[in-house]
């Protein structure tokens, strides 16, 4: 039974590089500890060539101007670890979470799905690269040999290289022989384990045992007499003969990405840049598990000055309302983009106190949350980014952002069977983006589908979300125009209704005057009144008399609905029959 090991060398550095890919070409060192005692714990290959090594202090490292120093981020390491497990689980259902930088897979039966063992190994390596991790992949007939092989190419002190290794059954000792004995022990040990390991290594060093081949060649009886069962265990590992079963994990379907910012950001443009990166990573992880998402949750940690009134209308200056073209259709230049504002940091809020004037203000963090619910499961990072941008334009955070957390709720991807004779249907992704853009223009409550309410009120309806989904078949509702034989006269409403001054004669309207010049004059014909009332049990009761009247409108006669509000006493022209 073959086992594969995915090992990410220099994991703290790899986690940072996953979050900031632009640092790949630079020398990077990771700091940990409380200033001023923080020290370097990990470096990449370029930094090592420049002479930067772990255990150096920060001042020592800062002497190298080209070095990028980053604090250790457990948040980024946990997301990188989650991404590593997602990658592993896309190749095998049996995955062991061996360490934060190591995952073991059971490849039994996978060759018929993914090809030969070398092909699987390369596919795993490519998948890890897709999610932003440079991983070593090794395949062997037992888990421990696979782990040693994957780690061995990035052994202690050796520069990290990405490679793929496939060890044939029975050849473990041959492959593992040249590796140093230090590789048998985990990288970071503390306390008693560290001391015990140091004693073992010192003993082996005094014996002249420096490679696994040398350790494997020792006589077992003599080794057990000197080092006990631990020595025999290490010898089995050195020979590649250790055998154990995997402890598989049942990883929760949790797709989250987060990034902590060294400096708060106040502009939407850099925020969009970071969101794009997080979304691409999320979508890659979802795709590796053949999933999509129907809900995105964005959580921003804000750095809030106590001088800001949270109730006031504050906000990060936003881009123009959804229009991306350089010129609008009138050929006029667009509103200035956010990056063109001269002092963006000072435009956060109208009542904000400038930093220079209030040095003693304290910072406190607040959270800003937005949830993006999609009508159907989708997996398109660009669409998600655009929807988030439009949402943030309409609802800006209102303060500098120090941390971004993005979570996706997994869902089964939608499947649709197209038909040759089916009517056209809007694509869900395009439609969602279009609706968001239109909502940014006219308002969220002004675009959507209608739903009639169970009331006699003439405006008894509400707007609901428009979803281009074929509803289940139901018997057609009988309406006046359910057959095409009778056409129903439509009412065209004035919103708001037009206030009218009506002249009455014997309680009947004979003429009216309105602000709208076309709607006034003598009443040529009238029908009514028809009395309606309702909601008398609610606070907002209504009662009205409706008249259908005909007025002379230039050269034609137009029909209107005239309403007398019985509770307020006013007259309104509610609409026209058209």
């Amino acid at each position: 039974m073959p086992f594969a090991c995915i090992y990410v060398p220099n994991f703290p550095v790899a986690a940072v590089l996953r979050a900031e890919p632009e640092l790949q070409a630079r020398a990077v060192a990771i700091l940990e500890g409380t200033p001023p005692l923080d020290k370097i714990i990990a470096v990449n290959e370029k930094a090592a060539r420049m002479g930067i090594a772990p255990a150096m202090t920060k001042p020592q490292a800062e002497l190298c101007s080209e070095l990028a120093l980053r604090p250790r981020s457990h948040l980024q390491e946990s997301t990188a670890h989650a991404a590593l497990l997602d990658c592993a689980q896309s190749f095998s259902p049996c995955v062991e979470d061996t360490a934060c930088d190591t995952a073991l897979l059971d490849l039994a039966g996978m060759e018929s799905l993914f090809g030969s063992l070398p092909e699987i190994s390369h596919a795993i390596s490519n998948c890890a690269a897709t999610i932003g991790l440079a991983a070593n992949v090794a395949v062997a007939s037992n888990p421990d040999a696979a782990v040693l092989a994957a780690r061995g190419l990035c052994g202690a002190g050796a520069p990290a290289r990405v490679c793929v290794t496939v060890i044939s059954a029975g050849k473990e000792a041959e492959y593992l022989g040249p590796l140093p004995v230090e590789i048998l022990f985990p990288d970071r040990l503390e306390g008693e384990e560290k001391e015990e390991t140091a004693r073992l290594l010192e003993t082996l060093d005094r014996w002249g045992i420096r490679t696994l081949r040398a350790l494997a060649a020792l006589p077992e009886v003599a080794l057990s007499e000197r080092l006990g069962q631990e020595g025999l265990r290490l010898q089995k590992l050195a020979r590649g003969a250790a055998s154990r079963t995997l402890v598989p994990i049942e990883a929760p379907l949790l797709f989250e990405e987060a990034v902590e910012l060294e400096h708060p950001i106040v502009l939407l443009e850099p925020l969009a840049f970071l969101l794009n990166r997080l979304l691409e990573q999320l979508c890659a992880r979802l795709a590796s598990r053949a999933l999509a998402t129907q809900e995105l949750r964005l959580s921003l940690d804000l750095s809030n000055l106590t001088g800001i009134d949270e109730e006031s209308d504050v906000g990060i200056p936003s881009e123009s309302d959804g229009c991306e073209s350089k010129e609008n259709m009138w050929g006029q230049p667009p509103k200035p983009a956010l990056s063109e504002v001269e002092e963006p940091a000072l435009s956060l809020s109208k009542g904000a106190v400038r930093r220079s004037e209030a040095p003693l203000l304290h910072h406190r963090q607040t959270q800003f949350r937005r949830t993006l619910r999609l009508p159907q499961p989708m997996l398109d990072a660009k669409i998600f980014l655009k929807l988030l941008q439009l949402d943030l334009n309409a609802n800006p955070p209102g303060a500098p952002i120090v941390k971004i957390h993005l979570a996706a709720e997994p869902a089964r991807p939608r499947s649709a069977q197209g038909g040759l004779f089916l009517p056209p249907t809007p694509e869900p992704e395009k439609l969602e983006l279009t609706l968001a853009r239109i909502a940014a223009m006219v308002g969220e409550q002004k675009v959507g589908a209608m739903e009639l309410l169970d009331t006699h009120h003439p405006e008894g309806f509400r707007m609901q979300r428009f979803v281009a989904q074929a509803p289940p078949e139901k018997p057609p509702k009988k309406t006046a125009a359910s057959t095409e034989e009778s056409i129903v006269t439509a009412l065209r409403r004035f919103r708001p209704p037009l206030r009218a001054h009506v002249t009455l004669e014997n309680g009947q309207p004979t003429s009216l005057v309105c602000k709208k010049k076309d709607v006034q004059g003598n009443v040529l014909w009238k029908a009514g009144p028809w009395r309606f009332s309702g909601d008398w049990w609610e606070r907002e009761a209504w009662s009205r008399d409706e008249w259908d009247i005909a007025l002379q409108n230039n050269t034609v006669i137009a029909l209107y609905r005239l309403v007398h509000d019985l509770l307020g006493g006013d007259w309104f022209v509610e609409g026209t029959y058209d």
């Binding site: 279009t434 308002g443 095409e484 129903v488 206030r499 014909w525 259908d548 026209t576």
Partner: protein, 260 residues
């Protein structure tokens, strides 16, 4: 060509052409909105999704339901000032939350019903027109709709005529070779040669015609004995680029929802 939902119109024009712009013109009470709803009903009956870009927010949902429109297949874009634009303008009268209940779009309380709610939906016509044209561009680009209706009927003529012909041309080119029907409702023709079909509607009852016809216009009381039951609409085919038809007109009757 697909059915417009009105058999008389289908006999006159052959139906509404796909991939083309159709204009329906007429004054108030000429049957434009009736035609609009009949076309939407026919399209939704065919299983298509439709959009109404309403420049004046004039659609009556109950009329639409009575006409047979499947409301869940109709995307309604209500142009006018958004709530954020209203709140930011010091001249707008703010409708406070206590005067709203769960019924969207209702002038709810007695006080709010009796009070003109600012000039929120009577935003300057240019702003509405800009929203209409932008929304139309976005919807045409999105695609997938069987019928897109632009309701410009209540826009002042001066504002409607400001739409450049290049815009209409762009709309027409976008829907060419697609199954989408673009229908524009207006007072007067404004798309010029970009429209493939132009219909002029008019109410058959006008002062000149009904002087001697006291049956339709009864001025004598009692008014509660009167009932508006039907409108007679006259439709004249002004232009059709699709088939050579002699210009002629038809008349059809529409019934009110309570006429039975």
């Amino acid at each position: 060509m697909v059915s417009s939902g009105i058999p008389a119109i289908d006999a006159l024009t052959g139906g509404l052409p796909r991939g083309c712009l159709t204009e329906i013109c007429g004054p108030a009470s000429s049957g434009r909105t009736t035609f609009l709803l009949a076309a939407l009903a026919a399209a939704t009956r065919r299983g298509e999704f439709c959009t109404l870009v309403d420049a004046s927010d004039a659609l009556d949902p109950h009329s639409a339901a009575s006409a047979g429109v499947a409301l869940d297949r109709l995307l309604w874009v209500r142009c006018g000032e958004s709530s954020t634009q209203k709140n930011n303008s010091p001249q707008r009268q703010r409708v406070t939350e206590k005067h709203r209940n769960q019924k969207e779009g209702c002038p709810i309380s007695r006080a709010s019903f009796a009070r003109e709610v600012g000039i929120s939906s009577r935003a300057v016509p240019e702003r509405r027109l800009e929203q209409v044209l932008r929304a139309t561009d976005l919807l045409l680009e999105s695609g997938g709709f069987g019928l897109i209706v632009l309701d410009l009927a209540d826009l002042p003529l001066q504002a409607a005529r400001r739409i450049p012909l290049t815009t209409w041309f762009r709309f027409r080119r976008t829907i060419e070779h697609t199954p989408t029907i673009l229908l524009a409702i207006e007072q007067h023709p404004i798309a010029g040669s970009c429209s493939s079909l132009l219909l002029q509607l008019g109410a058959q009852n006008n002062p000149e015609e009904t002087e001697n016809n006291d049956d339709e216009l009864q001025i004598d009381p009692p008014t509660h004995a009167h009932l508006l039951t039907e409108l007679n609409i006259n439709a004249e085919l002004i232009r059709s680029r699709l088939e050579r038809k002699p210009a002629r007109s038809v008349t059809f009757a529409t019934k009110t929802a309570w006429a039975g």
